[in-house]
């Protein structure tokens, strides 16, 4: 740094991963399940966590259910606070088939004291009837991704 004025040059600490796909059909209602992809926060600090999670669901009425996603701190085994996000809900009271496909964001600030692995988890809730499709999806027509950017020490 000799000869400089001492300005601090930010070191970029960021990363991104494909969340991957996750079939929530076989899991129990309200059971949080890990998606395949994850990112590693390399050091202590405050991070902006940002995920885009695509879900698809379908059922023959009468049916009501939804798919949610959240972020998990794999070291502590606890959900990142306020990261629960409802991706989509369908409610069909007739015998018609209803389906929806939607992508929702998760944007939260999260402070850690050491390196952490952050996973995306998915959950299907069925209030009544049966969702014969309930999936987190990631592919060429729409990826599910998770990112981090360190914003403060």
């Amino acid at each position: 740094m000799t000869g400089t004025q001492g300005h601090y040059v930010p070191r970029v600490v960021s990363g991104q991963a494909d969340v991957g796909s996750l079939d929530l059909g076989p899991t129990a209602s309200d059971a949080w399940t890990d998606a395949p992809g994850s990112v590693v926060l390399p050091e202590a600090g405050l991070y902006a966590l940002d995920a885009s999670v695509r879900a698809t669901m379908e059922g023959d009425g009468p049916v009501q259910g939804w798919v949610s996603a959240r972020l998990l701190d794999a070291l502590t085994g606890t959900a990142v606070p306020l990261s629960d996000t409802l991706i989509g809900l369908i409610n069909e009271n007739s015998t018609d088939r209803d389906s929806i496909q939607s992508t929702a964001p998760i944007q939260v600030l999260y402070r850690v004291t050491s390196s952490r692995t952050i996973r995306v988890q998915g959950m299907r809730h069925t209030t009544f009837g049966t969702l014969h499709i309930a999936q987190i999806v990631s592919g060429a027509q729409g990826y599910s991704t998770v990112r981090f950017t360190k914003v403060s020490d």
Binding site: A48, S83, E92, K150
Partner: protein, 156 residues
Amino acid sequence: MSGTSGSYRRGDNAPAQAVFSGLALTAAHGVFQTITVSDGVNTIPEDGVYAVALTLRGGIAQPQNANLWITGRVTANGAPLGGTEVMVNQTIGGTLTRVVTGATTFLHILTAGQVLGAQAARFSNEAGNAFPAGSSMSIGSDANGYSRLTAWKVSK
């Protein structure tokens, strides 16, 4: 960065994050209602350019064929910030109940002490912008999916 002035130091990023309460949208077509902050920090601590992310969970239940939608936006000291509008949910069709989460992220110059918030309005494309009897529209925020506002400073 040698020789420059005003270099931004990472670590001064003045974060703010708040979560909203749920809100039943009952006002007339296009009339924005304020969404109450239930927890967190929504006051900007220092001047700068901020990345601001608004996430809203919007629910629409319609008992008959209709075209309804919900739009949200960010406010500063109660006044809308232009360009922050986001269509959270639109349903077109017959008897439907749909809940989805929509979001917008943008950069904005903010000053210390400004209080960020959010508003949402319901819209109808039906005759007279009327809402069908029995229809219901709302912003939701709970453990099944939060509505939230996040901001962090990215530049002076």
